[in-house]
């Protein structure tokens, strides 16, 4: 490992612009003649639109246009799509209703966009939007998934009878039932996975620019995957052909999944830019983010886990109702199915598993993938069941887990996944040591002496990243491939530019991706630049989500570097009159092994571009690309242990210690990996303790639509984290990476809840475990 190569704790190259206020986010973009948009949104959860009267708004100062869904339809702009087909158990395709970028006839959730106002200033656009009169006939609304399935519930889309989108199953139900019938002990639990609102601190934004002379569109937007946005806007929404549409995702202020999707606003801003002839910028405010960013989780499940007389798990059956919201967002169907039930085996040998998922429309914001996406839900189900089982069986929670660990790899689960590697004992041991598990009873006594209730809880998770080989996801219903691309451009002076299809919105790619290059070519990190986020500069790529920038994006770079290395060595061998197989690259030089003959990297690069003296048949230049398609999912795993103190007077929980021990495979930059874990933990602990999304069940109004009502985790709500790593290199990719972006949010919620229920001696507790809920649970 070099000082800047793989494994080095390199400070971030991108930081200078952010700490000096020179970051360039979508709202910072200014183009000549730019005007401002405000969306008219439904104040009702469910209503028919009788008509829209914009006459007063249109006459207000500064107003350029008020445009509605009918005009959008007249111009042939298509429906917003869901990119993953799921078939129900009976073989029928999912029942997807239409999602119009601007609602024409019916609005289905509070915040559904019905019109756009374009004006000279933001304030004028906002003023005029309030003067747009929409005639609504209010319809009954339903916000909870189980209620939406009940007879007589409001019907949200004509395509989905009884609001059921699909009724899907994975695993062998008959075998699972038979095993449960034989079980010596069955653990039964009702589990609620609370709805979350992602809350990247930068609100979503879009700036649409239309060049009439070239019939060309440019969209600056807060996207995690600008190429996917271009593909979808071109192929499905008829905004513009791909070669006439440039999508730029500049600095993006956090995503966590919520900026994967192509939302109505960017489509409408581009379309409005053409209709009005002026560039149109929309910047969402926080209320709009709460109302319209894709929400997350929202599962209600029943779990049955069967054990034999020797405490081996013999069967697991899970029945889940997933709230999809008012429309099917891009990955909304995959999140509660193939990203969820496929992980129900966890770290354990479970010979029989069956998961059933019913996906349901409600009059709430669309629900889609958010940090972890399906895997937190699976982990929460499994790890609450494991701790509950340990209590019911009267065995130690550590020993019950250890007894059922998978120890031989590869391991084929009954729910698709083939785990390639892992060492669950090692991560468990690392976590136990770091938290000083053995001395917990003494700490509990000490807390008791101070009148506090102390508890310890754990969670052993496994997850799947990447996401997967394109052919495999295609066979499961994905509408896209999940490879990644990279191009390595060696300039004539030897500096290197990497064009990557991954997108950084906080992950530090400009540093870690450069480290991969430094490691291979021995160049100083200043000589390597990373280019991303612009479809005019970078070849087609799939973007960043599912912790895929490492295991897929960086491996694409490694593959392209292979090709660069081959050509560079061949050229150096020619220049040095040596054999190609004798050339090695290190410290910015190409050397002939065992001799003092060498050529500096920059001279070799220059020779490639002057082309005065190339080996016979070699093309000039030095630029290579690769598309890397993973061979398998990658499987990060970990053990998280949380220790809490609960104040019995107030029900207030304090996290007094938290250990995260993870196996992410090889690590490119430990500083950045630790940062990813910290952030994930904060989101997972936020889910467990604080973040609750509340819709009024009658009116469908979002009660928690601001930071005053939706509790974001603050610095004082969180502890300093203890982070540990154990490494089993991933065998399915060249760099041995497993991915680290989501683990913190996946493993932490059950660890926190298991700790609180341990402290208070009552297992009947739902997230978020607010002081009121905890206090109430303590009274029972």
């Amino acid at each position: 490992m070099g000082v800047e190569g793989i494994g080095a704790r390199v400070t971030r190259k991108e930081d200078k612009r952010f700490i000096t206020g020179k970051g360039r986010y979508t709202d910072d973009m200014v183009v000549p003649g730019m005007k401002f948009a405000h969306f008219v949104r439904s104040p009702h959860a469910h209503a028919k639109i009788g008509g829209i009267d914009a006459s007063q708004a249109e006459s207000m100062p500064g107003v350029i246009a008020v445009l509605n869904g009918k005009q959008l339809a007249e111009d042939g702009i298509g429906n917003i799509i869901c990119g993953w087909m799921i078939h129900s158990k009976d073989g029928s395709p999912m029942n997807m209703g239409a999602w119009r970028p601007l609602a024409e006839e019916v609005v289905r959730y509070v915040g559904d966009a019905v019109a756009i106002v374009v004006a000279d200033s933001k304030a004028q656009a906002r003023d005029a939007a309030e003067a747009v009169m929409v005639d609504y006939e209010v319809l009954p609304a339903v916000t909870e998934a189980a209620a939406a399935l009940e007879e007589g519930a409001p019907q949200i889309h004509p395509e989905a009878k009884d609001n059921l989108i699909f009724d899907w199953g994975l695993g062998d139900e008959a075998a699972t039932d038979a095993a449960l019938a034989e079980a010596a002990h069955i653990v039964e639990l009702d589990i609620v996975n609370n709805r979350l609102i992602p809350n990247a601190i930068e609100p979503r934004a879009a700036l649409g620019v239309y060049d009439e002379a070239e019939d060309h569109y440019t969209c600056y937007t807060t996207s995690q995957n600008p190429h996917v946005a271009r593909l979808v806007m071109s192929a499905f929404y008829n905004v513009a052909p791909e070669n006439k549409l440039r999508v730029i995702a500049p600095d993006v202020g956090g995503g966590f999944g919520s900026k994967i999707y192509i939302y109505p606003e960017e489509i409408v801003c581009l379309w409005a830019a053409r209709r009005t002839g002026v560039p149109v910028k929309w910047v969402g405010d926080r209320t709009e983010a709460f109302l319209t960013d894709a929400h997350a989780r929202d599962h209600v499940s029943t779990v049955r886990m069967g054990f034999d007389g020797d405490h081996n798990i013999i069967a697991l059956k899970v029945d889940t109702i997933a709230n999809i919201g008012a429309y099917m967002s891009l990955f909304s169907s995959a999140t509660p199915t193939y990203l969820y039930a496929t992980l129900l085996s966890g770290q354990y040998r479970i010979p029989n598993i069956y998961g059933n998922v019913r996906a349901v429309y409600t009059n709430t914001a669309p629900v889609d993938a958010y940090r972890g996406a399906g895997r937190p839900e699976a982990t929460y189900v499994l790890e609450r069941a494991m701790t509950t089982a340990a209590r019911e069986l009267g065995v130690d929670q550590v020993e019950l887990r250890r007894k059922n660990f998978i120890r031989e790899f590869p391991y084929q689960t009954p729910v698709i996944m083939n785990y390639d590697t892992g060492n669950f004992d090692a991560i468990l041991d690392a976590a136990l040591e770091a938290i000083d598990y053995d001395n917990f009873p003494a700490r509990r006594s000490e807390s008791e002496a101070r009148g506090k209730k102390r508890g310890i809880g754990m969670s052993c998770y496994i997850e799947a990243c990447g996401i997967a080989p394109s052919q495999a996801v295609g066979s499961l219903g994905a509408g896209v491939g999940l490879w990644e691309s990279a191009e390595v451009r060696v300039n004539a002076v030897g500096t290197v530019e990497i064009l990557t299809g991954s997108h950084s919105h906080g992950q530090g790619h400009e540093t870690t991706f450069a480290q991969v290059v430094c490691d291979r070519l021995g160049l100083p990190i200043e000589q390597v630049s990373i280019i991303h986020g612009d479809t005019d500069k970078v070849q087609m790529g799939m973007g960043t989500y599912g912790s895929r920038s490492g295991p897929v994006g960086m491996n694409a770079i490694a593959k392209a570097l292979d090709k660069v290395e081959v050509k560079a060595k061949r050229l150096a061998a020619h220049l040095l009159e040596a054999d190609e197989s004798d050339i090695e690259i290190s410290d910015g030089e190409l050397k002939v092994k065992g001799t003092d003959k060498s050529v500096p990297w920059f001279q070799m690069a220059l020779a490639a571009y002057t082309a005065h003296n190339l080996p016979e048949g070699m093309e000039p230049g030095l630029k290579e690309g690769a598309f890397y398609d993973p061979q398998n999912f990658t499987f990060p795993s970990g053990c998280y242990i949380c220790e809490v103190e609960v104040d019995p007077e107030t029900g207030m929980t304090e996290i007094v210690d938290f250990v995260a021990a993870d196996d992410f495979g090889n690590i490119v930059n430990p500083m950045i990996v630790e940062g990813q874990v910290h952030g994930g933990l904060a989101q997972g602990i936020g889910q467990a303790l604080a973040e609750g999304t509340h819709y009024d069940p009658e009116t469908g109004q979002l009660i928690t639509a601001s930071y005053m009502d939706y509790q974001m985790p603050r610095a004082q709500d969180l502890p300093a984290f203890k982070i540990k790593h154990e490494t089993t290199a991933c065998p399915s990719n060249p760099l041995g990476l497993k991915g680290c972006g989501e683990a913190g949010a996946i493993g932490s919620p059950p660890a926190v809840i298991n700790a609180i229920t341990d402290a208070i001696g009552n297992n009947d507790l739902t997230m978020p475990a607010t002081p009121a809920k905890v206090w109430k649970a303590m009274q029972n």
Binding site: K22, G23, D251, G253, D285, G679, R714
Partner: protein
Amino acid sequence: MADINLTVNGRTVSGTCEDRTLLVQFIRENLGLTGTHVGCDTSQCGACVVHIDGKAVKSCTMLAAQADGAEVLTIEGLASGGELHPMQAAFREHHGLQCGFCTPGMIMTAVDMVRRHGGQLDEKTVRHELEGNICRCTGYHNIVKAILAAAEEMGAGAKVAAE
């Protein structure tokens, strides 16, 4: 309309804006200083923190007109002569930022925190005083570390200067 005269980052600036214009809008849109960010509508997130006459203030909580005559320091004015402020350097050194969106507000809050406590800060105080700044990326762990490190350095600097 309001005529505004301010000193921003040591330079005298003036402009005209609607009476209802918030200071943050004036800074971003009239002055083009886009390092100060807007992350919410309710003065909770702290992405817009600047210094007004030496004190940390959320620039979304006041009208531009109310800041008339004031001395404003934004994130762009914190480094001097190409030298990063110790707080900026500490955020980089300790990986106290990821997406960078909350960072300007965090740094401006942190600088004021150190000033008020004279460099005598502990973890609990830092965590408590970050109540008005929300970060969704870092879990605050490295932000707290960065502030404590910078406080120590700034405190030591102040001590040397006093001697």
